[in-house]
């Protein structure tokens, strides 16, 4: 079949090009994921460094305190009132330090889930996950980066575990939270909320930043579009968010904004992933 073989060539080419494009896109998304994690490294280092510094200092202080207690107990003249008072003072300080160490360890541990999620290779299988946990871990990572000027508030309603690709959702909320914080010049606030509505969970990220200009609104989900300075924004964040929310989860992402009065992004995700949810998602 000469005509068949002739027409098969361009089709093959098209198929090959499509596959190449898909692979390139996947690589780009992967590179973007690692880049967004890299951008948070300063904040993460600070988030871990401060509690670590406290633990290190406290350990040395506690050791000295224990040595002093030991010396006081070994007084050949016995433990008098003065020694007892001194020991009580030391014990009080040691107690306050164990409390600090506990908080410090909790602070370090709180960074781990988010880091693990970002370091893990993208999963192909759907899993059940708690959206609030994803939000909390992502908030920990982002909060540390912007803590000097942005207050992060979370109002998370009880939501059931949902079928999703959790790591890709970490990416979505990381992008939205970083965008929200970067939109704020000077001091401001970012509020994160979850609400359960029927079979859907809505997570919103609202900021008090500069807002989105009317002329930019139609373009914000277009790959490559950015209003951030060179080196800050790649223009991929929101297009990746839309791809993950809409294409991978059959959800919806929408925003409202007033120039100068902040922006609110809402992500709607179905609790269960079915073929139907995906096809009807656009009508919701």
């Amino acid at each position: 079949m000469p005509e068949g073989s002739e027409s098969a060539c361009p089709m093959d080419d098209l198929g090959r090009l499509r596959a190449e494009l898909a692979t390139a896109n996947q690589r780009l998304a992967e590179a973007y994921r690692m880049a967004s994690l890299g951008r948070l490294v300063t904040g993460i280092v600070h988030e871990m460094n401060t509690p670590l510094a406290a633990i290190l200092s406290n350990n040395a202080v506690m050791q000295r305190g224990l040595e002093t207690l030991q010396r006081l107990l070994a007084e050949p003249a016995g433990v008098g009132e003065a020694e007892r008072l001194r020991a009580a003072g030391i014990l009080e300080q040691l107690h306050s330090l164990t409390a600090v160490d506990k908080t410090a360890c909790e602070r370090i541990s709180s960074v781990i889930p988010g880091l693990k999620a970002f370091a893990r290779v993208e999963e192909a299988e759907l899993r059940k996950a708690d959206l609030n946990c994803i939000l909390k871990s992502t908030l920990t990572l982002v909060r540390s980066e912007f803590r000097a000027r942005v207050i992060f508030e979370a109002e998370l309603a009880a939501v059931p575990e949902m079928e999703c690709y959790p790591q890709s959702l970490y990416q979505v909320f990381l992008n939205l939270l970083v965008n929200a914080a970067q939109a704020i010049e000077g001091q401001g606030k970012v509020a994160v909320r979850t609400v359960l509505e029927g079979d859907w969970v809505c997570a919103s990220v609202a900021d008090t930043g500069r807002g989105i200009r009317p002329e930019d609104r139609p373009k914000i989900f277009t790959p490559g579009f950015t209003t951030k300075p060179v080196g800050v924004g790649s223009g991929l964040g929101l297009s990746i968010c839309r791809q993950i929310v809409v294409d991978r989860h059959g959800g919806r992402i929408e925003f409202e904004s007033e120039a100068g009065a902040g922006a609110t992004f809402r992500v709607w995700l179905p609790i269960r992933q079915t073929g139907e949810t995906r096809s009807t998602s656009q009508e919701l």
Binding site: T42, V45, H46, N49, T50, P51, L52, A53, A54, L56, S57, N58, A60, V61, R64, G65, T68, G89, I90, Q93, S96, L97, A99, V100, T103, A104, R107, R147, A148, R149, I151, Q187
Partner: protein, 159 residues
């Protein structure tokens, strides 16, 4: 009795754990009066009414960063030694602080307790020396003006 005699050290860090750790260390190892704050504005108000020898401030804090805080310290307590404690190895801001604030010392987190103590002790010594120097200068000023007075009277007596 003790209030005036004990050197006063002020620590401000928005992280409660840092304040508690350093305070516990200084309380166990020294007899300094330690004033810890997590709110730089509150700490700045404290400096307006109480004399301190050393101010140790974290760099990254909401509302007011460490450099801004130590700038306030320089205005209200010029003799106090100013120490910046930071988790960021941010040399640029360190240079800025050293130049603009005549920063006494720059320490990085995690800090070494022995090094921190040495810095604070040196800071106290410096603050006390500067205060003594200031007192001596004002004594000299008084002596100088009374000498001038005597000179004027002598001149008047002889002319």
């Amino acid at each position: 009795m003790e209030g005036n005699a004990r050197p006063a050290v002020l620590i401000v860090d928005d992280e409660e754990m840092v304040v508690t750790s350093i305070r516990a260390f200084l309380k166990l190892e020294t007899d300094f009066a330690v004033h810890g704050f997590t709110d730089p504005e509150e700490a700045a108000r404290f400096m307006e009414s109480s004399v301190i020898e050393v101010a140790v401030a974290d760099y990254v804090m909401p509302k007011m960063n460490g450099i801004q805080f130590l700038g306030r310290a320089k205005q209200t307590q010029p003799e106090a030694a100013r120490v910046l404690l930071t988790g960021y190895a941010d040399k640029q801001s360190a240079i800025q602080a050293i130049n603009e604030l005549a920063l006494f010392q720059y320490l990085e987190k995690p800090w070494d307790n022995a090094a921190l103590l040495l810095v604070i002790q040196n800071g106290i010594e410096r603050a006390q020396l500067v205060r003594t120097l200031r007192d001596k200068i004002s004594e000299l000023d008084v002596a100088h003006s009374s000498l001038k007075d005597v000179q004027t009277r002598l001149l008047r007596a002889f002319m």
